[in-house]
Amino acid sequence: MERVPVLKIGDILLVSIQIDMSDQTALALQEDLAERIVEIGAHGVVIDITALDIVDSFVGRMLSTIASISKVLDAETVVVGMRPAVAITLVELGLSLNGIRTALNVERGMKLIAASRENDLGHDEEVKDPEPGQAATSA
């Protein structure tokens, strides 16, 4: 069975999907990702789909699931490099990939994760000092 490699860059995981996804590969990828996130304490996952010509509802759901899993493990998911044709098809299908952040390319995706991480930390610090109870509810 083919496996999608999961690369570690700093505390961000990079997944570049270059093969047609089957049920098996998708499940394996979800497991691999979950393990790696916990293992290295990653706070971001970048999924690169530049090579994908077709994104159907199955791949769409897989992306959503990965995003949800990562979120539970406190890592943000960014899908990058979607082709125009793919985006148009998804819109026509009515799939808007709710809850998934997107970026034009890997570089911008990693910047996005870094920026939002910085935002979160800054936000927590600001709120924590004056009112500790507020931070607990917002976290």
Partner: protein, 284 residues
């Protein structure tokens, strides 16, 4: 309404014997009809060309305008018709100019140069020629319209880069499904090519926004978002804002601005805030 070989031969004979008179009268009648919009000399050349190809076709046994021997005649009729269509003459003028030949034949009949029976038979052929030019004329005009529609589609959907990482699409004219599709594809492709994370769709030039147009714009915005770019809609005129609210169109969390300038300011502030926040940190 086909001619017999014998009639065809008589026609050639007639056109050859009275060549100068036929060409002259034909030119005169058409010139009067066009009221000087085509120079006499040019007109004469075209009439001569037609006259010559009719004789050539007749010599090969012209029986029907659709027959194989009339190939050259059809070609010169088509050329004449296409030329006139491009110069802006109406279809009627083109056809009637050919029917002028019937008047010439009739005049010849009056002076007894040709039998009345033949005039009727030749007239049938002239009718066919007239209809043929009419058809060619319509085809030419349809081709012109198709070309122009295509050019319009290309001209009317420019995607311009207005700042680093900011592209704008000034939409002008009615937005139908075909145009919306072209706009969407162009915009998304430009986002990829330039790596711009911000896009502004300016609808100042869109005369009316109905639910369908709104749907097209929304689809474009959602598609751009899927690719990781943020879209802003600008140039919403007061009446359009009223229509949008009256129709109950929801733009959701898509930023809308009154003018392109406001949209650009909004985008610059988005990117500017990041830069402004980091600088003091570096200094510290």
């Amino acid at each position: 309404m086909a001619l017999t070989m014998e009639e065809s031969g008589r026609l050639v004979g007639l056109l050859t014997t009275h060549a100068e008179r036929v060409v002259q009268r034909w030119t005169d009648i058409v010139a009067a009809l066009l009221r000087g919009r085509l120079s006499q000399a040019e007109l004469r050349l075209q009439v001569q060309e037609l006259h010559r190809s009719m004789i050539d076709a007749g010599a090969e046994g012209l029986t029907d305008i659709q027959s194989g021997s009339a190939g050259e005649l059809r070609a010169s009729l088509a050329e004449l018709s296409r030329g006139w269509a491009r110069q802006g003459f109406s279809a009627t003028e083109t056809a009637v100019s050919l029917y002028a030949l019937k008047d010439v034949l009739f005049e010849l009949a009056e002076t007894g140069e040709v039998e009345l029976r033949d005039v009727v038979v030749f007239g049938g052929l002239v009718d066919q020629m007239g209809l043929f030019t009419f058809e060619t004329y319509v085809q030419t005009r349809e081709g012109l319209i198709a070309d122009q529609a295509e050019q319009l589609l290309e001209l009317s959907t420019p995607v311009v880069k207005i700042w680093d990482g900011v592209v704008a699409v000034p939409l002008v004219g009615t937005l139908d499904s075909a145009r919306a599709q072209v706009v969407m594809e162009r915009l998304l492709q430009t986002l990829v090519d330039t790596g711009s994370p911000h896009a502004i769709i300016d609808i100042t030039g869109v005369p009316a926004v109905d639910t369908q147009v709104a749907q097209h714009i929304l689809k474009t915005v959602v598609a751009a978002r899927l690719m990781g770019a943020d879209c802003i809609i600008s140039g919403i005129r007061p009446q359009i804002a009223q229509t949008i609210v009256a129709l109950g169109i929801e733009f959701g969390d898509i930023a809308t601005k009154a003018s392109l300038a406001d949209a650009l300011r909004h985008v610059l502030r988005l990117t500017g805030i990041e830069a402004a926040r980091r600088q003091p940190r570096r200094e510290a």
